[in-house]
Amino acid sequence: MILQIILLIMLAYVVGFIYYGLYRNITARIQGRYGPTIYQSFYDSIKLFSKKESASFGWMFYLGPIIMATGSVLTLIFVPLFNDSDFLRSATSQGNLFLLLYLMVLGPLGNALAVGAGGNPFGVMGVVRGLTRLIGLELPFYIAVVGLIIAANSSDIVHIMDLQKTTGMNMLVHPFLFIAAMISMVGFFGASPFDIPGAPQEVYSGPRTEFSGKFLALLMSQGSIFAFAKLVLIVDLFLGGADSLWMLVLKTLAIFVTIIFIGIVYGRYKLEQAVDFLMKLPMLIGLIGLVRIIWFG
């Protein structure tokens, strides 16, 4: 199992970074630029890992990025990768969707502690923006997840995946829930219009303000791993999982590119605008789907 976990982590690391390179490339092309190479994120992370020094404000600051990385790796472990294959299934079956929902927030909270210990007011402002945005951002996602759980009457992801073999993709069965979940996914990936926490024009690159060298590199790496985990989760919940690696890559890529195309064309909301928006339209869409499941499902 350990070997499988290491394999999984490396897969997520590579795929996540290539996706981010793709993200930068597509953004550049849409802006009429040539853009960096697709491996640019590797270069960045290796460069940062090999910086001569990295500033640290004490042990809590040191441990924060590590907690965050731990949280995302743990999240990755609890997300089943393939349909009916026993790859890491022994580990995945130890958890459930509720556990995953809370694990996804564990890392950011750990990092928030480090930012607070760093003592940069801009960083803390970024964290507070992030947590406040979370209030609005989680709502449509929670509605979608709760809808799926109620529909499947189980919080076991594997069970939800298996159900889709008979009923078809949840994305088609519960379209409202899928739309709601996708809207909050845009925010989870830090894409516009919800990229409030790290807004460089306002809060000086937000929570990452004080992080340098290996800490920043660690944050970037775990970000890519976490992104992959989130994509796989969406694929499992709504796109009926994947049978092979290629299928998985294809489906995750589809989701990712959709999110890029949504994010690229928008400006940034203010904090209150973002939460207000998320509490109106996406929540309404999600509630429609939820009511459909409860009373007409």
């Binding site: 907690i67 743990l74 580990a91 556990l99 007011p121 709760v146 809808g147 109620i150 000086y204 209150e272």
Partner: protein, 590 residues
Amino acid sequence: MNSIFVLINLLFIGFFYQFGGDLHVSVALTKEFTFSLVQTPLGTFFAYLSLVSFLLVTIAQKSKEVSCNYYVLQLILNVAMFVIVLAGDFITFFIGWEIMTWSSYFIISKSQSIDIKSLQKYILFSLASAFSLIAGMVIVYSFTNSFDFSVISNSFGTIPFDMKVTIVVLFSLSFFTKAGVIGLHYWVVDTYSKAPDLFSSILSAVMSKMGIYGLLLVYGKLIGYDELRDMFGAVLNGTDFGYVLAWIGVATSIIATFKAITQDEVKRLLAYSSIAQLGYIIAVIGLGTSFGVAGALYHTLLHTVIKLLLFINVAAIVAQTGKNKFSELGGLIYRTPVSFVMLLIGIIALAGMPPLAGFASKFMIYNAAVDTKFALILVGMLFSGAASFLYCYKLVYGIYLGHPTSKELETQKEVPVSYLVPQVILSIILVALGAFPGAFIKVINPILKEFSLDTIAYDSLGIMNSAVGSFNGLFVMSGFATIFVVILLLVLRLKSKAKNNLNRFDISYCGEIPTEKTSLHYGYGFGTELYRIKFVNAILKRSSSHFYEALAIQTKKTSGLFSRMYYGNIHNTMIIILLFFSALFFIGVN
């Protein structure tokens, strides 16, 4: 002196453990009324809860000199709660209830920061709850001719329907007031924040749980969940009654969460968060499923542990620094590292983060909502859970992280050991329960049997089972620890050396150099963003105080009306009394 009372508490627990078994005391006060203690699994659970909490708080009181009669009052309160949770009939229950009210009243009045207004609030609401309790008792007695719980639970079905409803409403009101449901929480915040710092932990951790105990007693044992289902219809997979109660609980938890985020005083934030957490319990207590009751019990236990930990921690900090506002504290992490770690464990559990115990109870509560198909309830609970991260972070940031806001904070010592000992014990409990969430199922199952609900499957210590999924706490904990250590080792191995412990002013601050005068702590403005969000602002700007002030004014007016009758000339008074009695007479005749 302190050690004596610690010893007394220890002996109390020891005796209860020794001679507990199935305790059955019954003393006849009159030929009607008896004073009887009957030990049930539910009562035993709550008894241990309160006894241990009192012991820990008494230990913490060592370094904070309090007078002898304070200790005595606390002991009386302890005994009173013991009587309440083991009471076999309503007389005993009510005696305990009254003693609890008054002894706690005297203890609160000993605080320096208390003012008469909050004292009046406290006593008025306690009396109101006591009155509605006694009204319910009397109605029950009038139909069953007995105060004994067993007799009542057997012959409850004979009561007519409207009286049943009245009884349920009266008891619910009484216990909701104690637990501080939103709307009836008017006394909670002031009392918690102005009570003696260590006694606030008792108020939040134990006394509010007496309300929960009362609810479980009434719904579960006296009336019975099946009876409730028959009385009120069924919706989805649950009962109407449970649905209404769940909405009350969810509203409580959401509103209180948002109120908590915007507080500047530490203990007010904790008070609101305790209201919010009790909202979770009340949301599932009426569902009538075994997971509902189990989740309520589990959350009761965890909330007691967490709130004891947090309140003791905050009390230590307040005693050490003399400051109780987020805008005045800050930057204590490297001065009081142990307290920081304790508080960290506390808030991680409070937020329900997986490696620690907090998640298990939340998981049970969510499952209860799932298998009754109360989807909106579930969404609401998840939502308030997400919002509660904000006040958890505010709690730890405002006190320990950021920058010290004043000179004396920079030269703080670690808090006294007597404060740390209970915190360490409690945090060990939290970690252990996080690794072994299944351990508590053994405690819950007998209580479920007592409520004639089907028990929960139990595989092993590590695994928490439910109808709609399970998780392995041991696996999560060990996995977290392993991965954390591995990554830590990797990072330590890296070439790039960390410039450790930079000067705290060496932050990237747009090229400027902050000094002591620069305000770098974000403790005060924290949470004011919420006022700009329309939906949240709509919640925040409302307050129950308007209603109660209006009520007070009306009461004054009516009482003034009555008094005018007597201050007027005697004839009018006589005439009015005459009319009154004649009216009674006619009613009696017809």
